[in-house]
């Protein structure tokens, strides 16, 4: 211990103290090792309030920025948007349009999730699978949906199937990337424990790798969800759908073409609201009942 040792503190010794023994307190209230939290403590954990404050702040900022910009044809105020939203819901069936988009989206999303699981299972179990996944991901991930739609039309015709194809493309790669990264960071010990149980192949993936990589997969699901929306709206914006069943993207596109910008924003707000609900209800629920409960994330 050469070099920068602290200044020598001399030969200090602690005072000599008497020994003692105690009898351990009887198990009173501390005895029941796991006491449920009080209702007050439970309420303290609710984050809805804080999140709502954030939302209000964003709305206020928006209102101020738009008022200051004073260009209602490009950037309507929050109030105007809410009014347009209200009207669009009651007079233009915005909700049913949102439902049309949502149902296409859910289908594409579900298919993509299944494909991602299959692809990454394959990738994680063989070396060539790994190469295939990583090559395909780096090839297709950067391709915009719009570039793929013509081919989709050629193969699947117009309408929902092509949109679904494009959606699958949008969700599959980022989800596969996250899932695969999650798989590869599972601790070696846990991996060995699983194989020790005799797990292999798909059972190994399903019962061990997927829960162990769940934090990463959840991120992938969130990113994928967001990109499904982005793609659906963009695809509907650019390509529309067969006239009868316009979705949210179509609503936005049509109103943009007609310069009803407040309605465009109403459409975007609908997307945002759906996003908030899904994040704060669906994903939050999943998170609370999985990774948080398991102590895998803070």
């Amino acid at each position: 211990m050469t070099g920068l040792s602290l200044a020598p503190r001399g030969r200090r010794a602690p005072p000599v103290r008497p020994e003692y023994e105690r009898t351990v307190a009887t198990t009173g209230p501390i005895g029941d090792v796991a006491r449920p939290l009080s209702p007050w403590e439970r309420i303290g954990n609710i984050t809805a309030l804080r999140r709502f404050a954030v939302l209000a702040a964003v709305a206020l900022l928006w209102q101020i920025a738009a008022t200051w910009q004073n260009n209602p044809l490009m950037f309507p105020t929050f109030a105007a948007t809410v009014a347009a939203l209200w009207e669009a819901i009651w007079r233009e069936n915005l909700l049913s349009m949102a439902w049309v988009s949502l149902s296409v989206l859910l289908k594409g999303y579900a298919i993509a999730v299944v494909l991602a699981v299959l692809l990454t299972s394959f990738a994680v179990s063989t070396r060539i699978g790994n190469d295939v996944l990583s090559t395909l991901t780096s090839m297709f991930n950067p391709l915009p949906a719009i570039a793929l739609l013509p081919i989709a039309m050629l193969w699947f015709g117009l309408g929902a199937v092509s949109l679904t194809f494009v959606l699958v493309h949008a969700v599959l790669w980022p989800l596969a990337l996250n899932t695969h990264a999650g798989f590869t960071s599972v601790s070696e010990t846990l991996r060995m424990a699983g194989r020790n149980y005799g797990l292999s192949g798909i059972r190994y993936v399903v019962t061990l790798l997927i829960p162990a990589a769940f934090p990463a997969i959840l991120t992938g699901l969130k990113v994928g969800w967001a990109f499904a929306w982005r793609t659906l709206i963009a695809a509907e914006l650019v390509f529309g759908v067969s006239s009868g069943k316009g979705g949210l993207g179509w609503f936005i596109f049509q109103n943009r073409n007609e310069l009803y910008i407040d309605k465009v924003f109403a459409g975007l707000v609908t997307v945002i609201l759906i996003g908030l609900v899904v994040e704060n209800v669906v994903f939050r629920w999943i998170e609370t009942h999985t990774v948080r409960k398991w102590g895998m994330v803070r």
Partner: protein
């Protein structure tokens, strides 16, 4: 512990002449991007049916690596590992392992589910049987109160006890234990040792046990393999059958302990000399 009286009732008819586990000339290496680390060099030993075989050696000498190789997680670069005459090619539930690391419990399962998991995964038991068995084993490691708790709420020693319960519940052909009791206090440790011996007395399974405590080796083991420092090579193989907790003070026990101590100390002197002051 007075039920622990096997020498009187040995049934020699079943004595198998072929070793259950045959490790011969095993060299283990880790390949990394730039280095090739030799963990053990040409280690050989045999473990017979119902033996309690202990691997003893200094830190980093390759004990865990040997256990992993027997578990089928690490392929030897030289030599062969045979279980029941068949070469070990991969992991399986016939060799349950208690790992040295604390993160060996799937965090998404409660203590009970963790113990049930391998029973169900290997198809060894129905759900009801597995649950019954799990609760029994959890009680044996004194964690009944924590059966429905997730591992992140447990202390280090409690986690290791769950791992032990999990391995014991499987009643494997051979139990691989990597310093299973290292994180336990003297008392719990003693209780777990007794529990293990009691169970062995009931079921006569085979254990391959890694420890760094000479005393523990003598109490738990029936035969001890002493390994040299890194890279691990066989230094000696000793018998230590017949020592239990009550033998700890006996002269024979102290003799053997001293002998092993000296073996390890021989290196010590050497190593210390090589150390920069």
């Amino acid at each position: 512990m007075n039920a622990f009286t096997y020498p009187d009732t040995v049934d020699t008819a079943n004595l198998s002449e072929r070793p259950l586990l045959d490790v011969s000339g095993v060299t283990l290496q880790y390949k990394t991007r730039r280095h090739l680390v030799t963990a053990t060099y040409r280690v050989d030993f045999q473990v017979f049916q119902a033996e309690r075989y202990v691997l003893l050696g200094p830190s980093g000498c390759g004990k865990s690596s040997l256990l992993k190789a027997v578990g089928g997680f690490l392929a030897p670069v030289e030599g062969a590992i045979r279980l029941n005459g068949r070469a070990v090619t991969g992991p399986g539930p016939d060799r349950m392992m208690v790992f040295q690391e604390f993160d060996q419990l799937p965090p998404w399962k409660t203590v009970k589910q963790n113990v049930m998991f391998p029973l169900l995964a290997s198809g060894k038991a129905s759900r009801r049987e597995a649950e019954e068995k799990a609760l029994d084993c959890i009680a044996r490691v004194n964690l009944s109160k924590f059966a429905d708790v997730h591992p992140h709420m447990l202390s280090g020693g409690m986690k290791q006890r769950v791992a032990i319960a999990r391995a014991m519940a499987m009643e494997p052909d051979i139990l691989l234990m990597d310093e299973p009791f290292a994180a336990l206090d003297a008392l719990t440790r003693r209780k777990m040792q007794e529990e293990l011996l009691q169970l062995w007395d009931d079921l006569r399974f085979t254990v391959l046990f890694v420890t760094h405590s000479i005393e523990e080796a003598l109490v738990v083991g029936s035969r001890i393999l002493v390994l040299s420092p890194h890279p691990g090579q066989v230094k000696a193989e000793l018998n230590c059958d017949g020592y239990d907790h009550f033998a700890v003070g006996s002269p024979a026990f102290q003799d053997t302990a001293q002998r092993i101590h000296t073996m390890l100390f021989a290196d010590e002197v050497e190593t210390v000399k090589g150390l920069p002051s």
